[in-house]
């Protein structure tokens, strides 16, 4: 029998045995166990090591507040560090390992740090490790890092899947203990849409850990009945294994549901689901957390919270020790003694700090009045305790109760500050709760069962959910508490934060050094910064600081809590948005054609665009791109340009509207014509450019850059609704609706002539440069034709409904076969626009003005338009402003470097001598050398000058000549031809 500490009873299934391993050793447990209860059942007391001193640590609590029992769960890529054994549901085949030790758990070499503890007091590292300077990164810090940290990540991709979701309800009940169950039942019976969430896998809260009765039956049975009733109601959603971890603005709650963590594998299902719950109201019924008392060597395995000790006995049928002494300052500690004795566990003594009569009869136990535990013995597990009166008592478990703190964490997630209640010696929720939230039960300071049931019902009623049924019967158990925070007689170190090894002495030293504000205390000593966020440690430490300063606890301060209530995996917060599903893909209409024709694709925002189309025998991307450029300029090329934003603009005032949003004039644009437009931001910086075509009297089609399609639309809507609300203008995006292709090159017209239906005249006279119109192609297919050119060639853009786009690409290529037409990708597009001197994203980078771009004269001063006034600020129009120029290497064989800076010949390469930068470069197959665009101070006046383009990050520099940005066809003869 391996389960040496297993006793009868509890909410487990003793008939079914589960096997698991801890540090490789096989152990047994039962369904219903947590890893902690099973470890205790198997007599495993030592489960981990503390953060700083590597002291032996045992299980301390029975819930999510656990500071000690952190394990690495599972193996391989699913290895999960820092998992609290106390909330890990046992499953067959579970593998757990202790963490943060060098060597074995039993013989941790790092435990030597404990011997050095006098020199490692609070904040010691701020005072040393400073000499010699270089040693910090090389010696001290690596050593500190290696010994710090707790568990290990697998360093492999998390193989599990996660999902998210949205839920809506009238009432979210947080916690399924007595108060939560009553609130949920009351509201549900009144017809409300209720969600009841609990972090535990069994609903009932403390009812499952206590021997208290409700309506004359065991509390856990009563809870089963209520849960069954709720489960049968269509307006109720029960969410066990679900932690409400954050209360966000306007009634949005973050909830983590653990779907498969209790199974050996997730089986392809989402491991966890992150729910955003939208709740009109919420009842926080999260119960209370017991707090310890600090005394000498109170950190040994076997020293546990009293409520946890009886939870293990009552709920899990486990005796945490054979001889369990109880140390309490309140009535509730006595319940542990009574319950243990009733289970046949020996309780040698109940040590009560109060000099008061016994709260209840505990057969076999000595009642030590007005005393305290001041020290303990037992290197890797408790053996003996020493009392302040000098008595020594043998015990292998000490159940400690210092009173209970309401779990008010979520009330602090917005602006709430807890308030102190002297009668409870605890903080309770403050008055400023998250809107829509009410608090009930122990979380609200209603510490007895009857009170919790009453409050749960009452809060639901105050929210307007009335239910006429009677309150269940239960008693108000005794809860008197006389606060004792630490035992001053202790000479040995007394722990407050068990995980981070913060002791009473550390708090006193922080006080001595002036770190007296609560936040200073926490930051200086690391108190409350561990994985449990000080759930058991903060209040006692605060009390000791109050003692040092001679002030009351509320005068000293309070600790507030931030989300999450308990830690949430990053994988769950990311949900499905990872890997290739991080963001949606947008595909162009001819994507399939491109895939079939050797395209390499590139991410452009969310779009995938064909970057180039490799042909057999080409040695690298440059071969393909050079060919695409040369063949386009030599005959004809075709490029899918669907990604450019398209906005359909209609209305009687559409022309006037365009005139106000573009800096150049649009009032005179005729039907059937296209115009290039430059848009400024209101601050006068160039924002976006594109063309707008007038398709009809009141109908325009605007194109934007791919990158700005969404934000231009947004800005236009702003102008339409907020600036000029009474213009008759209507905007709708048609970006995805039209497959649009650039057909460029001297044979472009001939090619299109074969595709466009014959009734449409494409002659230069009938359809000149910057003409546009609605046409039909391929025998009646509606299409739009624009004679515009980005490449500088005779070019058109032809658009067909997107669902015909893939076919259209094929048709254009087929029609172009006789001209040796080529498809070209974004690289060739980029080369040709640089050859032509067109600004693109690298030039329109949000920092340049029309003045910088050489388009200053486009900014009309005769009309109001966005950006007009601020574009005229004095320093934006400086004579020595940078201007867009072309650059070519003096040594034509040299490749220019985009991002290099211009420095005068003979000048040092310093920021003072910086004269501008190279914004775009390309190899021009037409000119057979590298070319660039750049911004140069007074550049327009410096044609022919030789400068240095330096790129120290590459360790290179080269001489460049300033030339016109229009490398190809500067007079624009080709595009008008």
């Amino acid at each position: 029998m391996s389960q040496v500490n297993r006793i009868k009873g509890g909410l487990i299934d003793p008939a079914t045995e589960i096997t698991f391993t801890f540090n490789g050793k096989a152990m047994q447990g039962h369904p219903g166990d947590t890893l902690a209860s099973a470890l205790l059942a198997n007599g495993q007391r030592l489960v981990g090591r503390s953060f700083k001193y590597h002291r032996p640590r045992g299980i301390f609590t029975a819930g999510s507040e656990e500071p000690n029992a952190l394990v690495e769960l599972r193996k391989g890529a699913t290895q999960e560090p820092n998992t609290r054994a106390t909330v890990t549901e046992l499953f067959d085949g579970l593998e757990a390992r202790s963490q943060n030790h060098r060597g074995s758990l039993e013989f941790d070499l790092m435990a030597v740090t404990d011997l050095l503890s006098p020199f490692l007091s609070a904040g010691f590292y701020y005072k040393t490790f400073m000499w010699p300077r270089a040693f910090w990164e090389k010696l001290y810090e690596p050593a500190i890092r290696a010994s710090a940290g707790l568990g290990r990540l697998s360093m492999e991709e998390d193989p599990d899947r996660y999902d998210k979701g949205y839920l809506h309800c009238d009432l979210l009940v947080i916690g399924a203990g007595p108060a939560g169950l009553m609130a949920a039942r009351t509201a549900a019976r009144a017809g409300a849409r209720v969600i009841l969430a609990d972090e535990d896998f069994v609903m009932g809260g403390r009812l499952n850990a206590e021997t208290l009765e409700v309506d004359g039956k065991p509390g856990s049975d009563w809870a089963v009945g209520v849960v069954a009733e709720l489960a049968a109601m269509a307006n109720v959603r029960l969410m066990p294994r679900s932690t409400v971890y954050g209360a966000y603005d306007h009634g949005v709650y973050g909830v983590l549901e653990r779907c498969t963590d209790h199974l050996a594998t997730s089986g392809g299902k989402p491991r966890q689901v992150l729910w955003r719950v939208y709740a009109r109201h919420a009842v926080l019924a999260a119960g209370a957390t017991e707090r310890p008392v600090a005394f000498g060597n109170n950190d040994r395995p076997g020293v546990m919270l009293a409520g946890a000790v009886r939870a293990y006995a009552n709920r899990w049928g486990v005796a945490p020790g054979r001889r369990v002494a109880v140390f309490t300052n309140n009535d509730d500690g006595w319940r542990t003694a009574a319950d243990l004795v009733a289970k046949g566990i020996e309780v040698p003594a109940v040590i009560d700090t109060r000099d008061a009569p016994a709260v209840c009869d505990v057969p076999g136990a000595r009642h030590v009045r007005g005393a305290a535990v001041m020290d303990t013995r037992g290197r890797k597990g408790l053996r003996q305790i020493t009392l302040t009166d000098g008595q020594m008592i043998d015990a292998d478990c000490l159940a400690v109760s210092g009173g209970w703190n309401p779990n008010l964490h979520l009330t602090c997630h917005q602006r709430g500050r807890p308030e102190w209640r002297d009668d409870l010696a605890a903080f309770v929720p403050g008055r400023e709760l998250p809107p829509g939230m009410v608090v009930a039960g122990a979380a609200n300071g209603a510490m007895t069962l009857a009170a919790a049931l009453r409050e749960g019902c009452a809060v639901a009623e105050t929210l307007g959910y009335a239910d006429k049924s009677d309150l269940p019967r239960a008693e108000d158990e005794p809860r008197d508490c006389a606060p004792v925070w630490h035992v001053p007689q202790s000479r040995a170190r007394a722990w407050l934060d068990l995980q981070n090894d913060v002791t009473v002495k550390d708090v006193k030293q922080a006080h001595q050094e002036g770190f007296r504000a609560v936040e200073h205390l926490k930051r200086y000593t690391t108190l409350g910064m561990a994985t449990d966020q000080g759930k058991t440690a903060n209040i006692p430490a605060l009390a000791i600081m109050a003692e040092c300063t001679g002030r009351t606890i509320p005068e000293t301060g309070t600790t507030i809590f931030r989300p999450p209530y308990t830690p949430v995996p990053i994988g769950a917060l990311a949900g499905r948005a990872r890997g290739r599903a991080f963001r949606p893909y947008r595909l162009t209409p001819s994507h399939r054609w491109a895939e079939a024709h050797g395209a390499t694709f590139v991410e452009v925002g969310n779009w995938l665009r064909a970057q180039w189309f490799a042909r057999d025998g080409e040695q690298g991307w440059r071969d393909s791109v050079d060919r695409e450029v040369l063949m386009t300029r030599g005959s004809v090329g075709i490029c899918d340009v669907t990604t450019l934003g398209k906005i359909d603009i209609q209305g009687r005032d559409a022309g006037e509207f365009l005139n106000r949003v573009y800096c150049n004039g649009f009032a005179t644009l005729a039907v059937g014509k296209v115009r290039y437009g430059l848009m400024l931001r209101e601050d006068g910086i160039a924002y976006d450019d594109g063309t707008t075509a007038r398709m009809g009297e009141n109908h325009y089609v605007m194109t934007t850059t791919t990158a700005n399609a969404v934000t231009v639309f947004r800005r236009l809507e702003f102008a339409r609704q907020c600036l000029w609300p009474d213009l008759d203008v209507h905007l709708i995006s048609t970006t995805d609706g039209w497959a649009q292709f650039a057909v460029a090159g001297p044979n472009a017209r001939k090619l299109l002539r074969k595709v466009v239906d014959t009734e449409h005249d494409l002659s230069n006279e009938a359809f000149p440069f910057m003409g546009c119109g609605e046409v039909t192609v391929c025998g009646g297919m509606p299409a739009r034709l624009f004679r515009i050119s980005f490449s500088g060639e005779l070019a058109y853009e032809v658009a067909v409904p997107a669902r015909f786009g893939n076919a259209m690409m094929g048709v254009l290529m087929e029609a172009g076969r006789e001209f040796d037409a080529v498809p070209y990708g974004t690289e060739a597009l980029g080369v040709m626009r640089i050859e032509k001197g067109h600004a693109a994203g690298n030039e329109l980078n949000g920092q340049t003005t029309a003045h910088n771009l050489g388009m200053g004269r486009m900014v009309s001063r005769k009309k109001d338009c966005i950006g007009n006034v601020l574009s005229q600020r004095p320093e934006m129009l400086r004579d020595d402003a940078v201007k867009l120029v072309g650059l070519r290497p003096v040594d034509r064989a040299t490749g220019l470097i985009s991002g290099s800076h211009f420095i005068g010949q003979g000048d040092a390469a310093t920021m003072e001598n910086d004269q501008g930068w190279m914004s775009s470069v390309a190899y021009s197959p037409s000119l057979e050398h590298s070319i660039g665009l750049g911004f140069l101070k007074r550049g327009d006046a410096r044609m022919g000058e030789i400068l240095r383009a330096v790129s120290p990050v590459h360790g290179r520099e080269m001489e460049v000549e300033v030339v016109s940005a229009h490398f190809i066809d500067p007079d624009g003869e080709r595009l008008r031809g």
Partner: protein, 190 residues
């Protein structure tokens, strides 16, 4: 007879599956035309719509099915969509002709793709991606809303007790289908 012909290849053509008891398919030949009401000409526009369809525009966030089966969806004060079955790429002309210039029309057929879902588990699956409350008291049959699902803008319509029509941008059709499909898979118990 023209030398070349163009075949339609809607991005989700033929998509159809059943997961978690929910049928998911891409309706064929669904045409979509936007109707923008001219500023100051709203009354005339509404009358023209009523005359053409025998049904007035519903209130914002609602849809109505006209006599000829066209579903008119009111998206905002001055914008509605007409959804109807129509195979050829002239949907905008068809609508514009019926409305006699009282409304600004734009063809949106190819801007969007549609997915229909049907089956009792649909709402549970949509809970995973749809921020809108789909409870029948809140989002009843014929309700419509534009929202965001898995980073995609979606227009969701409730067409029956357990029937929904989802529309999203055609360029991201595959990601859209993936999002809906994964939602169904994730609520599938088997």
């Amino acid at each position: 007879m023209a030398e070349y012909t163009l075949q339609a290849e809607p991005p989700l053509a033929g998509a159809e599956m059943e997961i978690a008891g929910v049928r998911l398919w891409a309706p064929a030949d669904l045409a979509l035309v936007s109707l923008a009401l001219p500023l100051g000409g709203e009354d005339a526009a509404l009358m023209a719509i009523r005359a053409a369809y025998g049904a007035g525009l519903p209130e914002i966030g609602r849809s109505v099915v006209a006599d000829d089966g066209t579903r008119l969806v009111r998206l905002s004060a001055d914008l509605a969509f007409a959804l109807f079955t129509h195979a050829t790429p002239d949907a905008e002309h068809v609508v514009a002709d019926r409305l006699n210039g009282a409304v600004y029309t734009t063809d949106q057929t190819d801007v969007w793709v549609a997915l229909a879902l049907s089956g009792p588990n649909t709402r549970r699956a949509l809970e995973r991606i749809c921020p809108i409350d789909l409870h029948r008291q809140v989002f009843a049959v014929d309700h419509a809303a534009r929202t965001v699902m898995e980073h995609l803008g979606v227009l969701i319509l409730r067409t029956g007790e357990d029937d929904y029509l989802l529309l999203s941008a055609s360029s991201s059709a595959k990601s859209f289908l993936h999002a809906v499909e994964v939602s169904l898979t994730n609520v599938n118990q088997t």
